[in-house]
Symmetry: C2
Subunit: 158 residues, 2 copies
Amino acid sequence: MTAAETRWLSADEQLAWRTFLNACSTLFAAVEGQLLHDSGIPHGYYEILVRLSEAPGHALRMTQLADASTSSKSRLSHAVARLEERGWVERMLCATDRRGQIARLTDAGMAALEAAAPGHVEQVRASMFDKLTPEQVQQLQAIMAAIEVCDGARSTLI
Amino acid sequence: MTAAETRWLSADEQLAWRTFLNACSTLFAAVEGQLLHDSGIPHGYYEILVRLSEAPGHALRMTQLADASTSSKSRLSHAVARLEERGWVERMLCATDRRGQIARLTDAGMAALEAAAPGHVEQVRASMFDKLTPEQVQQLQAIMAAIEVCDGARSTLI
DNA sequence: TGATAGTCATTGAGCGTTCAACCAACAAGC
DNA sequence: GCTTGTTGGTTGAACGCTCAATGACTATCA
């Protein structure tokens, strides 16, 4: 890919991209900041707690939890270790597969999540939904759904 | 803010928020990955180089550069130190304010940026604009512009 | 049964970011 | 001048994430 054959962004696309980057930066800083400041929970950890709280028995295999919370196994492994130190999650052996580990949300973890949720939701509202019309919310959902579709591997190798 | 008086998200808002989070996660991972893998430049550093390249004389005071690249002073200070190690940026004293530091993009830095740009733009296209209609690009820009507006301090204290 | 490949999950090092603490230089008031 | 408060910028520790390497177990197939 040389400079000459590059399909550079149009002025509209430039503007959209930069506005998008700035907005995401502002938004995530606000959301992350609120959660961390008011509840001491990084947003990534919060997502893990939410996924666990939605799972049957408040428990999930590590790989499933990683998929659900869009995080790598490594990231999840580190994160669960930290959450375990706080007493919010516990690890159990998997009955059917001795390689497996099951992460389970403890009562204390559920309580921490429930305590953190109202403030977090309020922040998400203030930073996003309060600034958009219902129509824009629909548009945003459609746009993000289109983007979310994974392109698969970037490599041409098998 | 208790649970009872919380304005919880509607089903539509829930969906929009989660789709947004997933899409951002996928998108930023792809963009960051391409840039890092193909050019060895973190996206945050790339932004700094871009802002410098657009400044008169390829130079900017640290604070101005921090504002332009939406980063904290601390972050910028660390980043410029790394970029200086690579020979892409140099720091100079400010003539009018002896506290000031001026960051200037070197020729090597400009060359690195020009070498990285085509692949980066292509990735942004592939991950975002190729998946959206022109109308959606306009909608996205409007939505992000609405979100970007800073709410100011979260605190009610002066 | 034994060998090989694939999956599940963890580990540690390296990197970028954040936060709080800090120093140096300017600015405003007395 | 001197003091006080503010601004410009850096520093180091703490933290989360990524990447590559590793160990443990399962699955497949000869």
